[in-house]
């Protein structure tokens, strides 16, 4: 999340300094790799949810390190809302080609076309992802599904285990979770159940950016400042595009913006920023007074428990 600068630390004498061990980032990286290896060792058919967003990119980077010099031993799954930023789809395809891994795609559009799902009145497709996701997990016989969710993103996610059981309906039961002790993860499950595995549970947004900076990890260009035609709605900047058009009275302007999260084009807003590289983004994240979801996600503004409600139904 965020950090502080306190005068106290400058005043502190040298005698209280402790020998420096591994840095927080080193420890988080080691923990993430350990979790990914545990899941690959104990499950038959893991898959990684990969949206091209920064968090799933970091998980994939950790997976590449965990199995080097071998390639990542599982495919990635993208739940395609049909409302994607084209730059993100291009990035997704380049990334899987570079790493030599398989890409599975579950398309919300297919479900809308044949009537299994109906378009929502507000036009957002994020909540519609759950059914295609669960069907793709079943079709791929995936018993473990890696995700890039972090506990600092949301109150409901703050309570989720690193290895989190889903029942045969894909549901999360937040009141009946297995205790998780030491680094002894329990992934036992019955046929039909699966687990979600969150290797970067303990990372904050600042950790993600510092790590991307340190490791020089490629991201979709949307994350960095660029010029874009945008309009103002609900206190956020929306890109003018195929899936988000200004309504009457919403003025289109050209601004320098970047995205803090990358999701469905119809529910993800941009922030004004001139941070054009990872180091400036990392510094901007430190200074921000809004959470990334509060700043840019319309779907989480529905209610205080919006994420919990979606997660219970099997969402990411």
């Amino acid at each position: 999340m965020s950090t502080i600068t306190r005068s106290l630390s400058e005043e502190r004498s040298d005698e209280t300094k402790r020998p420096q061990g591994l840095s927080a980032l080193d420890q988080l990286e080691a923990e993430g790799i350990h979790i990914i290896r545990e899941v690959v060792a104990e499950f038959e058919r893991p898959v990684l949810l990969f949206s091209g967003g920064k968090d799933s990119v970091v998980v994939l980077h950790l997976a590449a390190k965990a199995f080097a010099p071998g390639k990542v031993p599982f495919p990635v799954l993208h739940v395609d809302t049909g409302h994607n930023f084209p730059e993100v789809i291009a990035f997704r395809d380049e990334t899987v080609a570079r790493l030599g891994i398989d890409l599975e795609v579950a398309r919300v559009q297919d479900y809308i076309d044949d009537g299994r799902l109906a378009e929502r009145p507000d036009g957002t497709r994020n909540p519609l992802q759950t059914q295609p996701l669960l069907d793709a997990i079943a079709a791929g016989k995936h018993d473990a599904v890696f995700g890039g969710a972090r506990r600092d993103e949301d109150k409901a996610r703050a309570k989720e285990r690193i290895i989190s059981l889903r029942d045969e309906f894909g549901q999360w039961d937040p009141r009946n979770q297995r205790p998780e002790l030491w680094s002894l993860y329990n992934g036992r499950h019955l046929p039909g159940q699966h687990v979600r595995a969150f290797p970067i549970s303990n990372w904050t947004e600042a950790d993600i950016w510092n790590y991307i900076d340190r490791e020089n990890i490629a991201l979709p260009p949307l994350y960095y400042a660029h010029q874009r035609e945008v309009f103002r709605r609900d206190g956020m900047w929306w890109a003018v595009g195929e899936f988000s058009q200004p309504r009457a009275g919403e003025e289109v302007v050209r601004r320098t913006v970047r995205y803090r999260t990358v999701g469905d084009m119809s529910c993800t807003g941009a922030v004004e920023s001139d941070a054009a590289d990872t180091a400036s983004v990392a510094a901007e994240v430190q200074r921000s007074t809004l959470t990334e979801r509060g700043a840019t996600r319309a779907d989480d503004r529905i209610s205080e428990a919006a994420m919990e409600d979606r997660k219970k139904d099997g969402y990411f």
Binding site: M1, S2, T3, I4, T5, R6, L8, S9, T16, R18, Q20, G21, L22, S23, A24, L25, Q27, E29, A30, I33, H34, R37, E38, K65, A66, F67, A68, P69, G70, K71, R98, L99, R151, K155, A156, A158, K159, R175, P179, L181, W182, S183, L184, N186, R188, H189, L190, N202, T204, A206, D213, R214, A279, A283, Q286, T289, T291, G294, A295, A305
Partner: protein, 447 residues
């Protein structure tokens, strides 16, 4: 209450270089109902500027709905993440919170006190470097404080901080604080807790949390955040001379499946790497190692830390080792410094923390996970149950949920167990239900 409008301009952008130097400190908070734990957590997050404007706005709006005065906040709303928790005003489960100062990144496990306190305390404290136990200055050390301290003692958490909260409500009275401090020292001695830190705080008013209070001039010790920033982590205080241990998670044999990013594939054609996270000690290229089980000896020929080649690696790093000889070391094996492999054991007496509602009884069959090994096991004998106020042993036939006691386990295969007192990783187990997979209990190896 202090001005909650975060002073944003005072936060300067800092170089990512200093971000990278920060170390990680894990701690848990525990307290009884109404000790002010949520307020303390809210205060820490707020004073560390880890609560952002939109979160604060949400909390402010809900606080007003609940009848809090304008400008006052129900801090519990920040930690009670689930709908049921907010609706019922109770905390069900451990919640994780994150904040950072210049020196450290913190992972805070916020453990609810009243419902299933043992289960939550064990979950939150098992990996903690420190546990903060809250005490109400008006009530002093009560039965539940003793229970929390007992659990912390059995889990051998490195540091215990007793925060004597609501010191404002006893008029910042030094005598009252000293009384509680002495009682805490007495309980700590009885429970075998080595070093405890006792400090007077007011979570509501912010005294001695981040800034030293002018209202407790008689208190010369550190503030809470001073302690959290300076106490050595479990990894830092671990004996650096501890013998090297690598539980093997899996064997990497990429053969044809090399990453396309590898520049010289010929070099890795016969690669066979042993992947795992170092549980203890250090390892260097050229070191002699022994492998459990079997006891075969060989030499370390290469080390990769998180995919990068290195000459040496240390505890907590995820590594891949290559060895000179083609030895059998599958998942569940342990690679150890030469001459130090633990004896394989088919039986052990453990301290068992019962987490599942189905009681542990003599004769039941379970699965045991230790390191990267999972084996069948039998509860050969329930020996006794702990009195959770004194840690005294009482005869028992079974252990019900939230009870702690000693059990003799018999394993279907040899396990390289080590006393928990010597090694957190080598001496910890979880018990799993063989049919439905539930986590039944946590256990620590006694001797």
């Amino acid at each position: 209450m202090s001005n909650l409008a975060a002073d944003v301009s005072s936060r300067s952008a800092r170089s990512t270089a200093s971000e990278r130097a920060r170390t990680l400190f894990r701690f848990a908070t525990a307290g009884s109902v109404d000790d002010g734990k949520s307020t303390l957590v809210g205060r820490l997050l707020h004073d560390a500027k880890a609560i952002l404007a939109d979160q604060l706005e949400q909390v402010a709006a809900t606080s007003r709905q609940r009848g809090f005065a304008h400008g006052e906040f129900d801090f519990a709303l920040l930690t009670d993440g689930l709908r049921a928790e907010r609706e019922q005003g109770i905390t069900i489960d451990v919640a994780y919170r994150y904040f950072a100062t210049d020196r450290r990144s913190f992972i805070l496990a916020d453990c609810p006190g009243h419902v299933q306190y043992t289960r939550n305390m064990v979950t939150g404290s098992a990996t903690a470097d420190a546990v903060i136990v809250l005490v109400d200055a008006r009530k002093g050390i009560i039965e539940q404080t003793r229970r929390h301290l007992a659990v912390v003692s059995l889990l051998r958490v490195a540091h215990v901080v007793i925060a004597v909260n609501k010191i404002d409500l006893v008029g910042f009275d030094e005598n009252r604080f000293v009384e509680i401090e002495l009682e805490a020292a007495r309980v700590a001695e009885q429970l075998g807790l080595p070093g405890i830190h006792v400090l007077p705080v007011s979570a509501l008013e912010g005294d001695n949390i981040v800034d030293r209070s002018e209202r407790t001039p008689w208190y010369q010790g550190p503030t809470l955040i001073d302690l959290l920033e300076s106490l050595p982590t479990a990894v830092e205080i671990e004996d650096t001379a501890a013998p090297f241990r690598l539980p093997v998670q899996l064997v990497l044999r990429p053969q044809g499946g090399l990453s396309p990013e590898i520049a010289d594939p010929e070099r890795y054609r016969d690669f066979r790497g042993f992947a795992g996270r170092i549980a203890a000690g250090t390892v260097s290229v050229g070191d002699s190692v022994d492998v459990f089980p079997g006891g075969h000896s060989t030499t370390v020929t290469g080390i990769h830390i998180a995919g990068q080649e290195a000459d040496a690696a240390t505890a907590a790093q995820s590594v891949t080792l290559t060895l000179a000889d083609e030895i059998d070391a599958a998942r569940g094996a342990v690679i150890a410094a030469s001459g130090t492999i633990p004896a394989g054991r088919r039986e052990a007496v453990v301290e068992l923390f019962q987490l599942d509602p189905r009681a542990t009884t003599t004769g039941s069959k379970v699965l045991v996970k230790h390191g990267t090994a999972t084996v069948q096991a039998l509860i050969a004998e329930v020996i006794d149950r702990r009195d959770l106020e004194t840690l005294a042993h009482h005869d028992a036939e079974s252990l019900a949920v939230n009870e702690i006691g000693r059990v003799r386990l018999r394993f279907a295969a040899n396990l390289p167990l080590e006393p928990y007192a010597q090694s957190r990783e080598g001496g910890s187990l979880v018990l799993i239900h063989p049919a439905d997979g539930a986590t039944l209990a946590a256990a620590t190896v006694e001797d």
